[in-house]
């Protein structure tokens, strides 16, 4: 099997995991991680082996299911975008406490520059926090190879391994040469039963064990072929993950600086000491937040040698590029064409014919009838309701926050407090908030704009499809205040009336405008035709 494949970094991770013998991939969609799970869903090898690959309801359920697979000795991959780590964090940090049995690799895809995200958080901090090894590939081939190693490492040290990609690695294609595939593990159990039961007495023992493991992890990082020390002149560069490529891009004839390439953490200490002795100045290149730079510099910055995002050599925010790395290296600039005066921004927008459009048209109209109405929204295509022509929403924070923020505002006296949430976001993190609202009889109106799919990330299955009314009833919303409408212009009179009635009802009401996403509709029609 030495064929050459031109594949995305995401797909390289997926293939590496399959060839490492995973029994399941557990994930909730999120740019730029979605294509990993989608690749496995379409893989003939995965089908042949019965690899589990259905979407999970959220990142926490994904992490826990994968830990269950690890418990019985199987290998499992968990994938998410960086903010998914916040949702999965409880399970992730405590999976390091229990430790693993079958290999467990957690892939977090970070999005510096926020191409499709609400923040720039750097998942390496989670890895350090949980005290687990972190892999950060610099090429698609390395991504493929590293996933396989990550599973071996996870089984060797009995810890989850965090693998971190950034957008440019996840969504860039290069040639990958795969290696022979390994068979999945059979069922087995760890001999140490107590470490899986994190009662304080067991957890205290495990915490000491995990701390004691850190030396071993550092030794492995120092010995890793993915971390490389290249001696050169007295100007040092530490290049993490894909930053290494931007460095080399700027030295087409070879780099004369002393370079430490870092792709495995915790940071190896020896080469860092070496560089500190060999160099007068050390530039840290890392995509995302200044994770390495901050550790080296410390609060007191005793060496005065460390440069990077914190010292201003590189921009404090945004992704690295060959250009800002070039400037940080002090290399001469390149003459550029002037930008054209005929170019204006072209922001994304809700598709023509999208049901969310009708929802916002109606909401804007009815909300205007009240002096203080506020619309708390959430994350998904419908967030685009913030942009013209709608400018309909007052908030978008994190998955599920629409319902809970509306509740908090209603508790404090706001009327009307309206929440707008998508169907997938509702099942991801909205149900618990709805229960809070029901229990306290909050005066809120929740609009679950149901397009029967997870549209923003490309139309994945949505966990609540066909169950939304039953979920709302089950949580305790009164039957007569769960209303379904079809968001189309011909129904505007009815929608207006339903909105008014439910806003006026002093309690929790749920309105479900339901119409299939026009992108998935088009795709399904096309499939039917062929």
């Amino acid at each position: 099997m030495n064929e050459k494949l031109l594949i995305l970094g995401d797909q390289a991770v997926a293939l590496g995991a399959l060839h490492a013998g995973i029994s399941g991939v557990y994930a909730y969609p999120g740019t730029p991680s979605t294509e990993i799970t989608e690749y496995i869903q379409q893989s003939p090898l995965a089908r042949e082996r019965g690899v589990y690959s259905d979407w999970c309801t959220n990142e926490k359920t994904a992490m826990e299911a994968a830990l269950g697979a690890s418990f019985i000795g199987k290998r499992a991959l968990v994938c998410m975008k960086h903010v998914g780590m916040n949702v999965a964090a409880d399970a992730f940090v405590n999976a390091a406490m229990t430790g693993t049995h079958g290999g467990l690799v957690v892939l977090a895809a970070d999005d510096p520059s926020m191409h499709s995200s609400q923040n720039e958080q750097d998942s390496r901090f989670y890895g350090k926090f949980a005290m687990v090894p972190i892999f950060e590939p610099s090429s698609q081939q390395e991504a493929y190879d590293m996933v396989r190693e990550a599973f071996d490492l996870s089984e060797a040290v009995k810890l989850p391994v965090l693998m971190r990609l950034t957008t440019r690695m996840a969504h860039s294609r290069a040639v990958v040469t795969p290696a022979p595939s390994r068979e999945p593990n059979g069922i087995s159990f760890s001999e140490d039963r107590s470490r899986w039961v994190l009662l304080p007495v067991n957890a205290r023992r495990r915490y000491s064990e995990v701390i004691a493991l850190q030396d071993e992890l550092r030794k492995r990082s120092a010995a890793s072929t993915h971390n490389r020390y290249q001696p050169g002149n007295r100007q040092g560069v530490i290049a993490c993950g894909i930053a290494y490529n931007y460095l080399m891009e700027n030295y087409p004839n070879g780099c004369d600086r002393t370079v430490l390439k870092v792709s495995q953490y915790p940071l190896p200490v020896e080469p860092l000491r070496q560089m500190m002795a060999d160099c007068d100045e050390i530039l840290v290149l890392e995509d995302g937040q200044p994770f390495v730079e901050d550790q080296l510099r410390g609060l007191l910055d005793d060496t005065g040698k460390i440069r990077g995002r914190m010292s201003g050599q590189l921009p404090r925010t945004g992704e690295l590029t060959p250009d800002n790395v070039r400037a940080a290296l002090g290399l001469p600039g390149i003459a550029l064409n002037e930008p054209s005066e005929y170019v204006v921004p072209r922001p994304p927008a809700l598709c023509a014919g999208c049901g969310h459009r009708d929802v916002y048209t109606m909401l804007n109209e009815v909300a205007k009838e009240y002096e203080n109405s506020k619309i708390f929204s959430d994350i998904g295509c419908y967030t685009l309701g913030a942009l013209p022509p709608f400018r309909a929403i007052d908030s978008c924070v994190d998955m599920g926050a629409s319902i809970t923020m509306a509740k908090g505002a209603a508790d404090g006296g706001l009327f009307p407090a309206i929440a707008v949430i998508g169907d997938s976001t509702f099942t991801h993190s909205g149900i618990t908030g709805l229960l809070d609202a029901v229990n306290s009889k909050a005066n809120i109106t929740v609009v679950i704009s149901d397009n029967l799919t997870t549209a923003m990330t490309g139309g994945q299955d949505s966990a609540g499809t066909g169950k939304l009314e039953a979920i709302c009833w089950g949580v305790g919303v009164e039957r007569e205040h769960v209303r379904v409408v079809v968001p189309m212009a011909k129904n505007y009179d009815e929608i207006r009336r339903v909105l008014r009635e439910e806003i006026e009802y002093p309690g929790v009401s749920v309105i479900i405008p339901r119409r299939e996403c026009i992108q998935t509709l088009k795709r399904n029609l096309k499939k039917q035709r062929s």
């Binding site: 995305l8 730029p32 499709s116 969504h171 294609r173 064409n337 054209s340 072209r346 927008a349 295509c381």
Partner: protein
């Protein structure tokens, strides 16, 4: 040999198919390839681009440095100009002349096309019209790819094979239509390249 290419357009216009075909042809020629794509938010009718790098030497960065792009291939004229600061002084621009207007403040089309025409090394083809006139309105991106083939430095036969490969699963009729679209674009561009006194 090195070709750094920016493909640009509006979400849904098919730049990733163009990228896939050029990438496939380059692989068949034994070149190294890297291709950074945009997925996600911006695909909803926003501007999209892809950085495609081909080289006989190993390629480091997934992103093309500013000022280093050899060719901008654009499905739409304003999206061609968006990446001007990335174009090298000797670089080419190959663009569809039909604008995609989905914003209220789209610039004056005449002015836009005039600036493009005034630039050196610009190939301007009305890919929409060519495709429509020949009864293949869905192959606009293949017309543009054909036009770009005039300056890419890859054999047309290699590219045509890759076009055929991409559409093979859809039957011979679809393959033939797309290859024909490719040839239409190539012919239109070759005349312009000759007219401009440039040869490749």
């Amino acid at each position: 040999m090195k070709r750094d290419i920016i493909l640009s357009g509006v979400g849904g216009q098919g730049i990733l198919s163009i990228a896939a075909i050029i990438g496939e042809a380059a692989l068949r020629k034994g070149l190294y390839v890297k291709q950074a794509e945009v997925h996600g938010m911006s695909q909803r009718g926003g501007d999209v681009q892809s950085n495609l790098r081909l080289s006989s030497e190993p390629i480091h960065s997934d992103l093309i440095p500013r000022g280093g792009t050899d060719a901008i291939i654009a499905m739409e004229p304003m999206e061609a100009l968006r990446y001007l600061p990335y174009l090298s002084p000797e670089g080419w621009m190959v663009t569809n002349s039909t604008p995609f207007i989905n914003i209220p403040n789209y610039p004056d089309t005449e002015q836009l096309l005039k600036t493009l025409k005034e630039r050196p090394r610009v190939i301007l083809v009305d890919a929409d019209a060519l495709a429509k006139d020949h009864g293949m309105p869905r192959a606009v991106n293949m017309v543009l790819l054909g036009a770009a083939s005039a300056i890419l430095g890859l054999d047309a036969s290699l590219l045509e094979e890759a076009v055929a490969g991409l559409f093979a699963s859809k039957g011979t009729e679809v393959v033939e239509m797309n290859v024909q679209a490719f040839r239409l674009g190539r012919e239109a561009a070759t005349q312009q390249v000759k007219g401009a006194g440039h040869a490749e």
